[in-house]
Amino acid sequence: MKQERTLVALCATCAVLVISMICTTHSVHGQSVLTPPPYNPYPPGILPPDLPSEIERVRREVNFIEKQALTEWEKLPPLNVQGNPPTLQGDGYRTVVVLGKILNYDQNMSPFKDTACAFCHLPYAGFSGPIPSVNLTMIAYPGTYHYRANKRTAMRYTYSPNFPVLEFNNEQGLFFGGNFWDARATGYKIQSPDSEQAQHPPVDTGEMGFPDTACIALRLQTAQYRPLFEAVWGDSLNINFPSDAEAICDTPGGAATLGTSATPIDLTPTERAKANNIYDHWGQSISKFEGSPRVSAFSSKFDAFLAGNYTMTANEMAGYQLFNGKGNCNSCHIDGRSTLCVDQKYGCASNSSSLTDTGTTAQVNPIFSCFGYANEGLPLNPRVAYFYENKPDSFGFIPNPYGFGYRDLGLGTFLRSGFGAAPNPNASWITQAPSVDGQMQVATARDAALAPPQCPTTEAPGPYFQKEFFHNGYIKSLKQLVHFYNTRDVYRFPGVTSGHCPAGTTERVNCWPESEVPDNIDMTTGNLGLTDTEENQIVAFLQTLSDGYTTPYPDINTFTGQCMAGGTAATQGNSSLIPTPPLPPCASAICDVPPIPSPYPIP
């Protein structure tokens, strides 16, 4: 075993040396960092042309906020530990939040010191993806090793700490809680799914990409803010790392030279336990930041409305009534208030103006999620970069060997501990997998519409900030999102994939391609009978859920990119549609993993 580790360490060191001979250098934080040639298995047009400059823009913005956070730390009063159990009296909350913010924006937490957590989550995008052209094209964001990328959109941080530990409720027969689209951050160990969510990207091969969780402790040893981390947690960062640890942490996860071990850094059990504690505290610090008013602010027009301090416009109020009534949105995006639906013809009023909200405030801080999971039946999006990553990169790693044979079964694959997910920590859930194939987390509706001040909408003609919606970014505007819920089954085109809608139809308007995962499609929506005006009114209501109305949203003014303008929200992004290639069958490594989907296999 020891010999194997020595061999792995030697290989890692050699790999770094070899790569250093073929690498270019660029400056990060005044340091020179080696970067290998980009991984580019993509056909022309998959990567947006402005990707390099946009990556640099976002990194500048991340650095700007990081420096502000460090300045805030320097101005904190000395920590005052009192009582038993010891408590940071007075400034405990603020101190942990500042620490979490510093960690979140630290680009050194990646092998090439180029990717912070925040790279995919900036405030002006509601802490979701900050690059409009990426949102329009490749969907997932490039990781520390450019241009490896994962398969899904970056979920918003906002209100993610409010999701409870993942559980299966036997009485209701549903999964509830967790973090990530596929629930793989369950919270089983440290009882906070959001903290465990924060622990995944640093060691995700397509994201920040460390090969070992101990790399976080290693980098913290030399961090400027090390004293703050140690003071808050009482942790000692005096871990005795082996001499090859730096070389290992400079190598992206998945590198063939590192072997298959999840812990290539050779630590004694005592030192490993210290590194693990630090990793837990790293995740918990970031979660505290995400749960603070700096991220989850409860400062929207809707919050002001609940407090009696904002009067909705006629369109917003009509949208709110539709959200609760005919649109049935609040069956999952629970708004904390009760409603009444008066017209019985189709279960709800066909004339939205006749809806009367007789509810009373049941919850003052609704999250607009039921914390559940659903398969909305989205089409496969051939723009997702992951489908093209079936060739080895310069580290010998193949992100997705199945190419277009990959299917995103979401929660179902996670329960099977399947490809591209994470180990399922509860074996009793595995039998549920066929009933949840294709399901993704019901995200909060809050801050879906949040955009930078200079392009303050997500909707064309704008000026607008291009976002992406749902797990695979197939939807490009809130108008399209509502229209999808409204007409998915009206304009259903079986056997048609994206980019191949028949002549005379317009994709995303009156043609919805077939679902990527046809099992377990949720039928609460799909044919709501909303008019065009009613769709727009629901969009107007969704825009009242953006934080920053009652108080300015922190760091919202950090966007230095370009707004987009022109066109219509209904066809927004349609010029970037590409034809789906002929799809091979779902790879057996995904769809033939027991328990097999039932009653019939996924195509």
């Binding site: 530990v81 159990p85 010891p86 408590t87 940071l88 405990g92 909350y93 942990v96 409010n162 999701f163 530990v165 209701q172 027969g173 549903l174 509830f176 919270g187 440290i190 009882q191 906070s192 959001d194 903290s195 947690w233 009482g234 505290h281 918990q284 979660s287 505290k288 749960g291 609760n324 049935n328 609040n330 069956s331 009760s338 409603t339 009444l340 639906c341 019985q344 189709y346 279960g347 709800c348 999250i367 914390f371 559940g372 659903a374 229209h483 007409t487 089954d489 009206v490 259903r492 079986p494 009156n510 377990n520 499609i521 949720d522 039928m523 609460t524 044919n527 009978g529 909303l530 769709e535």
Partner: protein, 156 residues
């Protein structure tokens, strides 16, 4: 030793501070089950292609678990409805009625099917809906039927 205890105490106190903000999130309490679940409208064919149809009906809100399933028992012989399709819907506790919509896949074109409907809670407990045997006929290959919403009211 004391120094270590203080450090452990700080870690414990900060941990409890951090996880406390997630504890208020709970599964929404299920609504009380309706004494009797009755179909108010339908069931009827919402839409159909040669191999897939959507059956739709409205009942009073059955209550019980928010996660519910519409269930269709069907077959080509009205006396042998030996196939079952079910689709998930999420109840809206504040709606007096619930629309159930169920996808039936893998059908044959130009074929008449007979069916009854029911609904059930997420744990499989039936709402014991009484439904007569209905029927539909799938269209020819390449054809489609759209019954809801009326084309004149569809959004452009």
């Amino acid at each position: 030793m004391n120094r270590m205890l203080i450090k452990m105490g700080i870690a414990a106190a900060v941990s409890s501070l951090l996880i406390s903000n997630a504890t208020f999130s709970q599964v929404v309490t299920p609504a009380k089950r309706a004494a009797h679940v009755e179909i108010k409208q339908g069931p009827t064919l919402e839409s159909a292609t040669d191999d897939l149809v959507i059956v739709r009906w409205t009942s009073n809100n059955p209550g019980g678990s928010d996660d519910h399933y519409g269930v269709v028992h069907y077959g080509t012989d009205p006396k042998q409805l030996n196939q079952t399709a079910k689709s998930h819907v999420r109840l809206n506790q504040e709606h007096p009625e619930t629309i159930f919509r169920v996808r039936l896949d893998g059908l044959s074109p130009r074929t008449t099917y007979y069916y009854t409907v029911d609904s059930m809670e997420g744990n499989g407990k039936s709402d014991e809906v009484k439904s007569p045997v209905n029927r539909f006929t799938t269209p020819d290959t390449g054809q489609r039927v759209e019954n809801y919403p009326p084309p004149s009211t569809q959004p452009k």
